[in-house]
């Protein structure tokens, strides 16, 4: 899979978000694991920084943070520039 800079940045951001999400699910069934909560919070800070960097450089990711032209700007997640779709 050939990826441009934006796609690489998005993949890194998604990987960090995935780490967080996986920890979040674990904590649903292990809510008393406080050491794990600490690790979760560290990862969460890292994710926030990465998300801000991505949004400043490329586009906003959530409907709450953008509207009109800013929100409508592509590519949408299912689009793939390589095949012109």
């Amino acid at each position: 899979m050939n990826m441009n800079n934006r796609e690489i940045a998005l993949k890194n951001l998604s990987a960090q978000e995935f780490t967080l999400w996986e920890m979040h699910l674990y904590l649903d069934t292990h809510p008393d694991d406080l050491r794990f909560v600490e690790r979760y919070n560290k990862n969460k800070m890292k994710y926030s920084v990465m998300k801000n960097e991505f949004e400043e450089k490329y586009y906003y990711l959530t409907a709450e943070s953008a509207e009109g032209v800013e929100w409508l700007k592509g590519p949408w997640p299912w689009e793939n520039e390589e095949c012109g779709c």
Binding site: L10, D28, C83
Partner: protein, 202 residues
């Protein structure tokens, strides 16, 4: 409420369209063990879940399944881009094409449209979680079957990611079932239904 994030959980970038693959993979969009059924199952069952851990778990996994539905939609969309009429006829995609062109429609690979009969919301914590465990395994088998039939690494990578999620969800649901039975009468888990009966927790 729900809010949208303009990204996929795992990237989908398919170079070569392939209508035969689309015809198979659409089953995980609207087929018997697909992602639409999964999200509706968990997001519906959560209302009658008796314990906070389980309300959280079903909300979170149900939400993740909506993200998987979007990934499958993206795979089918990219696999059916820029097709010639010849390719559509040759691949057997013509049966889908005549009804939906290249729109993404929730149906099984056999063409049967999505139905809520694929899922249950029984209002009983043990019953519902046992269904959820089975559902994750059925979806895992479907992804294994897709991987037997698909060679293109651009398609296999996101499918392999989704397959792994079924295994993780199975693990979490198993822990959820254990959490539930730990709160019940160890002599008889079925003495009462904590999703329905009042004041029954030890």
């Amino acid at each position: 409420m729900f809010s949208y994030e303009k990204k996929l959980q795992y990237p989908v970038k398919i170079k070569n369209p392939n209508p035969l693959y689309a015809k198979i993979i659409i089953s995980q969009y609207g087929g018997p063990d697909g992602e639409l059924g999964a999200s509706l199952r968990y997001l519906s069952q959560r209302f009658s879940m008796p314990y906070n851990e389980l309300k959280g778990l079903l909300t979170d996994i149900g939400t993740e399944e909506l993200g998987h539905l979007e990934m499958i939609g993206a795979i089918v969309y990219q696999l059916t881009k820029n097709l010639s009429e010849e390719e559509i006829k040759k691949s057997g995609f013509d049966a889908y094409f005549v009804d939906h062109t290249t729109g993404v429609y929730p149906a099984a690979a056999s063409g049967v449209p999505f139905t809520a009969a694929y899922l249950q919301s029984k209002g009983d914590v043990i019953t519902d979680l046992t269904e959820d465990l089975a559902a994750e395994q059925k979806a895992r088998t479907t992804y294994d079957n897709i991987l037997r039939l698909v060679d293109d690494p651009d398609v296999r990578e996101p499918i392999k990611f989704l397959r792994e999620r079924e295994i993780v969800h199975f693990q979490r649901f198993g822990e959820g079932l254990r959490l539930a039975t730990d709160k019940l009468d160890s002599q008889n888990f079925y003495a009462f239904n904590p999703s329905f009966d009042k004041n029954c927790n030890k």
